[in-house]
Structure formats: C-alpha cells, structure tokens
Symmetry: C2
C-alpha cells in the first residue's frame, strides 16, 4: 500500500454511485474467492439489487469497461475499484474525542484495510490523556493546536454534541481539510472543507421506526 496523499487528482462522483461501489467491491471479492474469472453486469446487478445499466455506469468511473458476452474481468476490476475508492493509499487521520465512540473507532482495525490510519487522538479529559488504545496515543487538544504543521488532513469528530462546532473550528484552523463527523450535530464549515456525516444514532432511529411499523403478528 502506498503512503501519502498523491491521490488528489479525482473529480467528484455522485454520492449514490460512490456508496454502491464498496458493495460491488465486496461482491467481486466473494466471486474472486469462489474462483470466478469473469462476471457480467447483469449478475452484479441481480446480486446487488441494482439495475444493470446503473452497474455499467457506476463501474465506468473506475475507467474499466466490461467486454461483450464475457463481462468484467474480476481481478483487475477489484484493483481498479480499490484504487478508485482510495482504499489503497494510506491516509492519516487524527481523532478528536476519545470517549466511548472514539475509543470504539480506535479498536476498529478495519479502517486501516480501507486506507485510513489514525495517527493520534485528542481529548481534554485528564482520565484518558496519555492512554494508548490499539497503539494510538491520546494527547491534550492543546498539543494538536501547538503541533508543527503536519500532513494529516482528515479529522474524525467523536466529541460530545455540545463541543462539536467548537472542536470542528479548531480542527479547520489547524490544517484539517476533511471532517468525518460522527456527532448528530450539523457542523458549519467553510466551503472548501469536506464534511462526511455518519450518525449511527440516526440510523438506529430509522431502524427502530421501521421495526415498530411492522404489522403485529397474530
């Protein structure tokens, strides 16, 4: 895996397409494991609950096209998708807020496989400062502000909701370009800052509602 951020050469791709691509990737890896050499867009479409035209369009962003009758060659398509999605270049990140959810993310080694390595964590709670979780040390947020310029451009925001906006501003003022926001707060940021919202509890709310709307069993 390459290290660094030599990958700033993309153009923005529609979010729904980007979100479907990791599903295709997981699917192709399964096919690869089963020994499939080729797979058709019809099959990818059927097994992922998507329209075949959509599959062709989504995959075209990677620069790979299927061949008539045989379809896509599995191994090169896996490579192309992983490269395209940025999973093969290792990006560094700082984590802000080493509470319960922050700690949970530090335990998730899966992130590294997808190209994200957490380099350091920051908090203000004396009880956690100096601790190390999965090899990542927790520093005081002031150490982030005082640190020399770094090449870390991604910040993971897992502070309590009432601190989200303040900490986001500290992040931005100190070189963070993309914020992965796990708080339920809609943070306000300048135009040139990327925000990716991932509110687990919002997903939970949707799931509860759907479960509670199921017809009662007899």
């Amino acid at each position: 895996m390459e290290v660094g951020s030599s990958k700033r050469k993309n153009y923005p791709v529609p979010e729904p397409a980007l979100r479907r691509m990791p599903c295709y990737l997981a699917y192709l890896k399964q096919e690869h494991r089963k020994g499939s050499k080729y797979v058709s867009s019809t099959l990818i479409a059927r097994d992922n609950g998507v329209d075949p035209t959509q599959v062709t369009k989504d995959l075209s962003y990677t620069g790979i096209a299927g061949k008539t009758r045989v379809g896509y060659e599995v191994a090169p398509l896996i490579d192309a998708l992983e490269n395209f999605l940025g999973f093969r270049v290792m990006d560094k990140a700082f984590l802000f807020g080493a509470g319960s959810l922050g700690t949970a993310l530090l335990h998730d080694h899966g992130l590294v496989q997808y190209g994200l390595k957490i380099d350091a964590a920051f908090d203000v709670d004396p009880k956690v400062l100096g601790n190390e979780i999965s090899g990542v040390k927790i520093f005081h947020i002031d150490d982030f502000i005082k640190k020399p310029q770094s090449d870390v451009e991604i910040g993971i925001l897992t502070v309590p909701a009432q601190k989200a906006q303040d900490v986001a501003e500290i992040m931005i003022n100190n070189g963070i370009k993309a914020i992965w926001n796990f708080t339920p707060v809609r943070i306000k940021v300048p135009e040139n800052i990327v925000v990716q919202n991932t509110s687990l509890y919002a997903h939970l709310a949707v799931m509860f509602n759907r479960l509670n709307s199921l017809p009662e069993e007899k």
Copy 2:
C-alpha cells in the same frame, strides 16, 4: 427508561425526516443546556441548515406543534422526540461477529443511551468464544440457534462480508426481525424483515473522493 417492545405502534415516517430528527434533538439539548425555554422553527432551521417548513413538518410527526410567536417549548419537545425516535424504550440486540468492528461496537456505551442494549455476542472463532467485552459475553453461533425463544428482535451484523448472507439467514430463521447491517454486502431478506445498512467504509469512500476532488492549493 422503559424496557420491552411495547412500542410497536408506529407508522413508517420518511427516512430523510427520521435522519434529521436526531440532529434537531442534539440541537434542542444544547439549547436546553443554555437555558432556552422556547425555540422557533426559524432558529432550528437556520442552525441545522434546513428549510423552516421542513422543520415544522418533521417535528409534526412527534405530535408536537409550535405556538405562534413563541415557537416550540424546548423540554417537552426533547421528550417527544426521544420517545418518538424510540430512544427511551430499551431494545435488546444480539451482535453477530465479534471481530474488529463488532468489538468496537461493544465498546460504544453510547448505544445504550439511544435505547439499544447488546445482550450477547455470537461468533465462531475459538480465540474469542467465552470472552467478555464491556460486560457482553461472546458465545458460539450454535448457542444462538439452540437457545430457547427470546424477545430479542434486533441483530447487529458485523461478520466478514463473505459470511453476511449466511449469517443473516440464520438470524432470520431464529427470530430476528431487524438487521443492522455493518457489512458492505446487500443482504437479501424476506419482505417482513427490516434491514438498516450502515457501511462505514462506504462513507469513507465518499469522504476520500470529496477530499481528493478539492482544488489543489497554490
């Protein structure tokens, strides 16, 4: 907090509205902390980057309406939102796959505050069986199949992608009604089963693409 699933009396609400509600909730809690007694839909709208009409419509699902000129009374609206979103009734869940991400979720005590308590975890890896993480014990998946009928209706799916469909079927065949799917696989389920997809790595892909599409700095 109530325990049990006496809450199956909802009707399905559009997903975008459900997803916005936890943002309003976080916002209202902040206002409450600041001592605000009332807050207008205009203010909620402005601070959450939503249209005021949208706010009024979203909040109307809770059964609470704002009053002319004063707006919404903060404390009762917080109660109504938490009740409506199912965060005040404790639902039990089983976790399937105590690998890296599964373990991470077991470390997140935040889930309990939002009404989800993980009762037991299941895996097949002898290295983790019998372990206890944050008070949750890890059993063999066969113990799930052999267990007497339980009132647990929610299953969290954090197994490796290639096991996702098989394990989902085991879950469904043994009483699970709602699957919180953290794998990138689009699992196939019968119509009466709820699936909530939360692929962290899909979000990561979107963030990478946006970051890499930022204009190069001079």
